[in-house]
């Protein structure tokens, strides 16, 4: 047997809960060191390229904030669901529907000017995400169907729907048959936040959403109900909380924010509809939510870190010729290490090198 034993703590250690994400990042760096060494690269140089080099320029910094925007928005929405034990893992599909609804507005009002066009697009995007999340919500509350599988299946359906639209009815008539929509008219594009970068004003929504989510979770009765439902569903039942309503609410918030992220992507850095509008933001946001401890402020910082994993992957591709998939490996590793270190929240390690006696004396 291993000379280490897990010993339950009386109650969960909150300080440890804030410390384990940091531990996970450190372990991921060590894991990355080993991985790059195995791939025959200079590990130190690789780690520098991945973690540091994207942040050494003004443009790189703006890209970090740009990529953190969808991650933060989606993760805040998902975290509210996860707290209520609602496992919406189809945010990628809800993002896609947000892009379709919002982008559809941009195409419908093509060549028109007006300050109202962008707000209409954003609202449409939120609604699109909500519509897509309403399907698992309805099936869950009406038929008790597992929302993990339905929301995920709908992601594939959403991607195919987008593919159909840009290959068919919404294809740019002057686009040489490329599967892309027209480039949006200026009135449907988000203004830049920093001159000479792709960072747009939509990113300002992230701190706003984080603040609102914090107030919602900590200062509202519904937020309290959501926490209770996640921690002890039975207690929520005895207290008479309407679980179906909370499930709906959690999925609507998650879907709406994912839809918002989708429309911000197409009205911001992309500027049109094409078949690949997201490099898996909806899935990465799941990691962001966990890494941020399902806490809005934690998610804010976790989103920046995971945005860095995208930039790091791109930097490795350009500077070292490594495949972009490095990003996914890092993201998977960080979630693994986080879940593994989380054992320390509820248990403490006890080294039982000497004998079993040591454990008994302390009891």
């Amino acid at each position: 047997m291993l000379p280490i034993k897990l010993e339950p703590r009386g109650e969960s250690a909150r300080t440890v809960a804030y410390f384990t994400p940091l531990l996970a990042v450190i372990l991921t760096m060590i894991g990355g060191f080993v991985l790059f060494a195995l791939m025959g690269q200079d590990p130190l140089e690789a780690l520098y390229v991945f973690f540091i080099s994207p942040l050494t320029s003004y443009y790189g910094f703006s890209e970090l904030l740009l990529k953190a925007t969808p991650l933060g928005l989606i993760a805040v929405g998902l975290s509210i669901g996860f707290r209520a034990n609602v496992w919406n893992i189809g945010a990628e599909g809800q993002l896609t529907l947000g892009a379709i609804f919002g982008g559809g507005m941009a195409l419908a009002f093509y060549e028109m000017d007006g300050f109202w066009i962008l707000p209409v697009m954003l609202i449409a995007g939120v609604l699109g995400g909500m519509v897509w999340a309403a399907i698992p919500a309805f099936l869950k509350t009406r038929f008790n169907t597992n929302e993990i599988l339905t929301s995920l299946m709908l992601t594939y359906v959403a991607t195919l729907l987008l593919s159909f639209l840009v290959h068919g009815p919404w294809r740019d008539p002057d686009g040489f048959n490329f599967p892309e929509s027209r480039l949006f008219w200026d009135s449907a594009l988000l203004p830049a936040l920093l001159e000479g970068t792709r960072l747009h004003v939509g990113s300002l929504l992230v701190p706003l959403v984080v603040a609102v989510a914090w107030v919602f979770l900590n200062r509202s009765f519904v937020g309290f109900q959501i926490k209770v439902m996640g921690l002890t569903p039975a207690a929520a039942g005895y207290a008479g909380f309407n679980q179906k309503r909370l499930t709906w609410l959690a999925l609507m918030i998650g879907g709406g924010l994912a839809g918002l992220a989708g429309v911000l992507e197409v009205a911001g850095p992309i500027g049109q509809l094409n078949p690949t509008i997201s490099p898996g933001y909806g899935f990465t946001a799941i990691i962001v939510a966990f890494l941020g401890r399902l806490h809005p402020v934690g998610i804010f910082f976790a989103a920046l870190l995971m945005a860095l994993s995208y930039l790091g992957g791109e930097a490795m591709q350009i500077q070292m010729g490594l495949p972009l998939a490095v990003t996914g490996v890092f993201q998977g590793m960080i979630l693994f290490f986080l879940l593994a270190s989380d054992v320390l929240i509820r248990y403490r390690l006890r080294f039982t090198m000497n004998s079993a006696k040591a454990g008994q004396e302390s009891v």
Binding site: N144, L149, F164, I286
Partner: protein
């Protein structure tokens, strides 16, 4: 007409086989009380490992073993997390899938676009040449036959063997099983590893036989469909197997429907398996007694040993 029917049936078998492996494996894992959502990731690792071994050794048997081993290695990682470190099974399964998607793409980068001869098909002179039934019954590859063998083995194991009874006991009530003296950890570890190996085989079938090449993310959600099949089959091997063939049928509809002159864009045909998954999940889960009678009572629950 007979030729078309034969072609359709052959493609149904091909589309169903990876689902059969993954669903039967996950069924055993879930019967022990463990929910592993990492099937997609394990299948992808199985697919790339089998392909890589097949390319470098030229042996299809080694390739198949490589696929199973890779799936099992991923499952071992999952077991370490959920059994050793008591992590949340849902989150860990998701992590396994995200990790598997990334790692398989990274490992597979050098194999994109490399051709590999498809798995050999059985050829018994006389029998295989029979019209219609010949190619269908006596002209499949090794993995297709293995999937049928696994169905019998899994059904026998769960229904008739003593070890299967212990596995189900652990899944129904880990505390009671532990009190009688069975090792919950050992049973679950073996069940998880078996599930991983089967997912690996499912992946291997994709990259060795279904489309003998490596493409990033080539499972395209089949791991998730396999998870749904376990629910669809109400945790019974034969029903899950039948479900896999039903889905095989839905998947290949898109290949043949356009030949019959239905003028619907390809994307809508491709949506069918995913939509069908949702429909069958709704059909099964709306009947709560059916689910409650058949689902392992301890599914997804963390077991903590008490003295």
């Amino acid at each position: 007409m007979l030729d078309t029917t034969l072609a359709i049936l052959l493609t149904v078998v091909a589309a169903a086989t990876p689902l059969v492996f993954a669903a039967l494996g996950e069924l055993i894992t879930e019967k022990s009380g463990v929910l592993n959502l990492g099937v997609e990731g394990m299948m992808l690792m199985g697919a790339i490992a089998a392909f890589a071994v097949g390319i470098s050794t030229g042996s299809s048997m080694l390739a198949i073993l490589g696929g199973a081993a890779a799936g099992m290695a991923m499952a071992a990682l999952f077991a370490l997390m959920v059994l050793g470190l008591l992590s949340n099974q849902v989150a860990t399964g998701l992590a396994l899938t995200i990790f598997g998607v990334g790692l398989s793409a990274l490992v597979g980068k050098g194999f994109v676009g490399t051709p590999l001869p498809a798995l050999d098909k059985l050829d018994i002179p006389g029998l295989t040449d029979l019209p219609f039934v010949g190619p269908l019954l006596f002209g499949q590859d090794f993995l297709v036959y293995l999937s049928f063998v696994m169905l019998v083995v899994v059904a026998w194991f769960l229904g008739k063997s003593r070890a299967g009874l212990i596995l189900r006991a652990v899944g129904e009530s880990h505390d009671a099983a532990h009190a009688i003296g069975y090792s919950v950890m050992k049973v679950r570890l073996l069940a998880i590893l078996f599930g991983g190996a089967m997912s690996g085989l499912g992946g291997a079938y994709l990259s060795l036989a279904y489309t003998p090449m490596w493409v990033e993310n080539m499972t395209a959600g089949r791991g998730w469909i396999a998870l749904a099949l376990v629910v669809f089959g109400t945790w019974r091997p034969l029903r899950a197997f039948a479900g896999a063939y039903l889905f095989g049928g839905v998947t290949i509809l898109q290949l043949h429907a356009q030949g019959f002159g239905f003028n619907v864009p390809a994307q809508f045909w491709s949506m069918l398996p995913y939509l069908a998954t949702i429909v069958v999940l709704v059909m099964i889960s709306r009947d709560q007694t059916l689910v409650r009678l058949n689902a392992p009572a301890c599914l997804g629950k963390v077991f903590v040993k008490t003295k």
